[in-house]
Symmetry: C2
Subunit: 435 residues, 2 copies
Amino acid sequence: MKTPQSIGVGLLGLGVVGSGVAQALENHREPLACRVGAPLELRKVLVRDVEKQRPVSLPPHKLTKDAQQVLDDPAVQVVVELMGGESPAGEYIRGALERGKHVVTANKEVMAKDGPELLALADAKRLSLLFEGAVGGAIPIIGSLTKDFLGNQIHSIHAIINGTTNFILTRMAEEGMSGDEALRLAQDLGYAEADPSNDVEGLDAAYKLAILATLAFHSRVSPGEVFREGISRLHARDFRYASELGYAIKLLAIAKRDGAKVEVRVHPALVPEGHLLAKVSGVFNAVEVEGNLLGRTVFHGLGAGREPTTSAVLGDLVEIGRRLVANGEPSRAVQMEESLTVKAMSEVETRCYFRLNVPDRAGVLAQITRVLGDLNISIASIIQKDTDPTTQTAEIVITTHPSKEAAVQRSLALLGELDVVKEVSNMIRIEELPS
Amino acid sequence: MKTPQSIGVGLLGLGVVGSGVAQALENHREPLACRVGAPLELRKVLVRDVEKQRPVSLPPHKLTKDAQQVLDDPAVQVVVELMGGESPAGEYIRGALERGKHVVTANKEVMAKDGPELLALADAKRLSLLFEGAVGGAIPIIGSLTKDFLGNQIHSIHAIINGTTNFILTRMAEEGMSGDEALRLAQDLGYAEADPSNDVEGLDAAYKLAILATLAFHSRVSPGEVFREGISRLHARDFRYASELGYAIKLLAIAKRDGAKVEVRVHPALVPEGHLLAKVSGVFNAVEVEGNLLGRTVFHGLGAGREPTTSAVLGDLVEIGRRLVANGEPSRAVQMEESLTVKAMSEVETRCYFRLNVPDRAGVLAQITRVLGDLNISIASIIQKDTDPTTQTAEIVITTHPSKEAAVQRSLALLGELDVVKEVSNMIRIEELPS
């Protein structure tokens, strides 16, 4: 066995996570070398501005503004991509693999959109492409789905995988903040970006869910196939009513296998208060995986940010380093052994919570229940909530038994047309999870 | 790359978990072959009784009562040990490695006592010895500590890793059952053995904690070094008082690094109700790992039993199978890079809950608080609980600030000698975990 003197690492991006990784490679050099069997040596780092002052001090000759200097350096055996975004990060990952270099990335967008092709390219080249940092930060969900749980048929994933929105929902639930107030607070604290739409509209969660579903079901799921609904329609009132019914409201990412189809959807959901997912607060993430053998396993931890993502990236680096030391080829990566189709959202069945604003008088319920009954939507409960004496209106909350999304959407339209309904204020799906 | 036609598996033990593994290899042959890159072929199975009727049907020529027939079979490349117990399982694992066979085991006792030697033997022979099933069933805690979290310095582990005792404590807390009643129920449901002492006295948890601490701190921790206290002293009353104080009572397994020392202890502990560990109910397990980068990550899932352990064993088998397919040597296993010593329990500092039975009259508290004060045990709260008019006694509950175990033990002796203390009814340590 020929043990390499050191393992050359090239880094693309020296932002928040990149500098965390560079610093850890420096500060934990000895233990990492021991765990790998050879030191991990940072050779070249792609930066936007070579002159910029940084918290992590690197010798100037290691910094470059030219990606080719990293990708073409023969001393670089592993390229770590931490730039984020689809382009040029995706091209760089591909370029690194084509040049025979192993890759570690935390790029959810690239892995969600082009993961299967890139993994196939890595496989063909007998290279590793690891991406634990792309989903769930320090939560080892990628490793679990691609290794530990491989003896299972995975039935479902229920996850809170966007810390920004979970922070906002936690503040709305616990402090009665409005969504806008909570978002501004998240921005002030650095948990949300100036343009928060990727988080708030569920796109970030959809990328991550596409990755998890692809790995769990061994069948490609693209982010565009994920049904997506953001958190902007949620009102403080919904949290109060949900709580009275025994539920929390969370932005859930759900992937379920149903025969040869998969459901993949990101939307606000009522979650039973007794379930661990209901207790995930602030910027924490949690993922529940259900499989035929494992039952239900929940992971809970920090889902993003400098240290948690650095933890994931270093774990991947150590794994690749160990393989290089053992002269081992990477073992089989992700297998696309299935060809499942994504179920149309209209076919998906869920329980629902409706909040309606109606005139406070007799005969109203009869008309509403007839609309639902005609659509075969079975009612689980009807509760009259706050009434407003000045407008003579009342709020009613209706929960349903499992109903097809198509019928639910049709009911929303028909209810909106009724004279006795002033406003269909909200519809939130209910996920009944066993605690 | 020479891909093997199939990967030969030898199985030692066809009990609850062994038959689960045999059945899964049979029923999920195709997906497992796809994930590994070659079929996993069960070649030989060690059983006690070849004639016995079993739920899993295996051709008679594959069954043997002679372990050597498994260990010496040249077609067996991986030996899966699922007999449990120290001997002869430990000798068989060693024998398999000496014959050049990879090993998968779920044997906590062998891995706790002899894991470091066996892992070193496997390393020297360039073989894999994997043992995900030894701790936490389907929870991928071994894989996380030996791979995903390797970029971290682990600070602490707080775990509920014995389902039997957690089931008992849950029933005591939620239904006010006595410990004996709850134990009998656990036995009736098959969660506890006829002789429950390994579980109830914390030995099972101590084995598992020794394994986790060794992996987390890269330094050998033997099960005999783990401080251990069982659940038999807990009374329904303690659960009520703890709940009033805002705590649940759990049998915690705790490993903490403190400089060049480690604390390793298994004992009942008051856990803040807001913490996820306080919400682990029934036979579930949970493990919280704290590291410098990962922050705190919690795993929650089924900790034992046929399916969860089968899940872990199959994950290990797939990993070894993939390496064989890739012609790869196993990458570096567990590194013993540190030489930490185990901190004496007398040096450990914890907060404490005392329950005392005292005469219901003036002057009692003065004497008690003087004893504690003289030992530098600082009091956080004193609450008088139930009084008994017939015996004219009262129960008082005292909680302390962090205090050295040596002082706490001394205080228990001195309090017991006071005339004004009829009985020191209980002392339970308090673990303040951030939620």
